[in-house]
């Protein structure tokens, strides 16, 4: 159960956020007309979304490097990012720490690459043991491309 996104692909659906009692879903859609007008047709718009409670500030066309392998997704999947706390234009910011209602914006990302970080080794020293323990590390990395970002 991942907090922060759900899959858009029909054949493979993911957990939706609404079940977790997101306060934003219950509240009414805010009027973001002023914000929208100042974004030059959503060209100058940024959003801060949260994934696993970690904020990421993105604009359209950005690549998000996640230092882990996102569960149950494959390359090419489209994700709807549904935990957005901030939307901003050059002049205005709309912020709601509980999450902005999903109808107010559209933020999708596609999984572009699932790869690894370069290989490195981690050394651990134990007490009263003269040898170093060596651990090979090659952690996973998931790259998302912000596909669509606009204020509705």
């Amino acid at each position: 159960m991942i907090r922060g996104f759900m899959g858009l692909n029909a054949q493979r659906s993911f957990s939706s956020m609404s079940r977790l009692g997101n306060a934003a879903v219950r509240s009414a859609v805010p009027d973001l007309h002023t914000l929208k007008i100042s974004t030059n047709g959503s060209n100058h718009l940024y959003a801060i979304f949260k994934l696993h409670n970690m904020p990421y500030m993105v604009t359209k066309g950005d690549r998000v490097y996640l230092p882990f392998k996102l569960k149950n997704v494959q390359v090419g999947d489209k994700l709807k990012l549904n935990d957005v706390t901030t939307l901003g234009s050059p002049e205005f910011t709309y912020n709601d720490n509980k999450g902005i209602p999903q109808d107010a914006y559209e933020l999708t990302a596609s999984v572009v690459e699932i790869t690894r970080e370069p290989y490195y080794e981690v050394y651990r020293k134990k007490q009263r043991c003269r040898r170093l323990k060596t651990f090979p590390v090659e952690p996973f990395q998931t790259v998302l491309m912000v596909d669509e970002l606009k204020v509705n």
């Binding site: 007309h33 929208k36 007008i37 974004t39 030059n40 047709g41 959503s42 060209n43 066309g61 204020v151």
Partner: protein, 360 residues
């Protein structure tokens, strides 16, 4: 010494004469065209025998099937058309992509110029042309063809026989090299220009045959999509693959006399007040690294602002910023969305038409 000068001018003028930049129409001999009289265009007939690749054969080409599904093409798009789009050879007995290429090129130029004209109506003509090239020029289409994973069929018949490669694989590859060209031994780091390539040579750059072939294949695939699925799907495809690319418009401007241009522009727009460039702030002339902020103003309206390490630099930057913000303006509709393009559903004109370029 005089002789030397004469010789130089001669060779220079010869160089100019021998470069033909205009198109000379000529009949392609390979098509074995016959006609009653040369003026009677209706009687023109190509006698070269060509046939379409049977669908059953095309289905056996794994590279072709993979390309079809990689591009997410609809099942209506037949594999034989896709294979045709990849064929540039005239003489191999199979239909080539000439017609599809023309169709695709027209579709592309329509949707690209429509997009640019509506989104950036005030773009000066030279920038507009370069922007069109940036989205659908041969270099870009070559890159797109590479991204699509199209491979060149570069092995000879003998190589194929020796490596026991299935004959069907080549139907999913880009075929533009003749059997003779494939057989040529290549020296690494050396590229011999073909006659076509040397025609396109400007300074040290040229358009390679491969780039042309890739571009042609990409255009033909778009043309094929139109023939099978119609306009709506083609438009979506062009939007997804071509118009979704990032267009670095800000980097395309090169101003010679920006201040003069801005003054002319203000005249053209009938601004009541004269253009003034004012200093907004500075760190102090005697500070270690002086920084100035200048603004281009028209009365109380600030047109642009620029930061520079000298007053002249700040002034120029402010003027360039003002010009850029004028030229790169994109109109919005009443809802605050980007203005619709004419090919959209229930299109209503909400954008603007540019006033044309200024002259200095």
């Amino acid at each position: 010494m005089i002789k030397g000068t004469i010789h130089q001018t001669w060779s220079r003028s010869l160089g100019v004469v021998s470069r033909r930049s205009y198109h000379v129409p000529s009949i392609n001999k390979a098509l074995k065209t016959e006609y009653d009289t040369i003026n009677d265009y209706g009687s023109y007939k190509n006698n070269v025998f060509t046939h379409r690749l049977p669908e059953s054969t095309a289905q056996q080409s794994p590279s072709l099937v993979a390309l079809h599904s990689r591009l997410n093409l609809p099942s209506k798009y037949s594999l034989s058309t896709l294979s045709q789009a990849l064929n540039l050879n005239i003489n191999d007995g199979l239909v080539n992509n000439f017609g599809l290429n023309t169709l695709g090129k027209n579709l592309l130029s329509y949707y690209v110029s429509e997009h640019l004209l509506v989104k950036y109506p005030r773009l000066p003509m030279p920038i507009h042309n370069v922007a069109v090239d940036s989205l659908m020029g041969h270099e870009t289409l070559h890159e797109i063809g590479k991204i699509w994973g199209i491979q060149v069929d570069s092995s000879t018949k003998l190589d194929k026989y020796l490596s026991q490669e299935s004959e069907f694989i080549k139907y999913g590859k880009l075929r533009f090299l003749s059997e003779q060209q494939k057989g040529e031994v290549k020296e690494s780091g050396v590229h011999e220009l073909s006659s076509q390539e040397s025609k396109t040579k400007i300074d040290s750059s040229f358009i390679s045959d491969e780039a042309q072939a890739y571009a042609s294949a990409v255009r033909s695939i778009i043309g094929g999509l139109y023939t099978h699925t119609g306009e709506e799907a083609t438009k979506k495809f062009i939007q997804d693959h071509i118009l979704s690319r990032k267009l670095p418009l800000e980097e395309m401007f090169q101003f010679n006399q920006p201040t003069r241009e801005l003054v002319r522009l203000c005249d053209k727009l009938n601004f009541a007040e004269p253009l003034e460039i004012r200093l907004i702030a500075e760190t102090g002339r005697l500070s270690a690294h002086a920084i100035y902020v200048a603004g281009a103003f028209c009365g109380t309206e600030k047109l642009g602002e620029g930061i520079g390490s000298s007053i002249a630099e700040a002034k120029t930057r402010s003027v360039v910023n003002a010009l850029m913000s004028y030229y790169l303006y994109s109109p919005l509709d009443s809802e605050g969305n980007a203005a619709k393009v004419p090919s959209d559903k229930d299109y209503k004109f909400e954008g603007i038409v540019g006033l044309g370029d200024v002259s200095i």
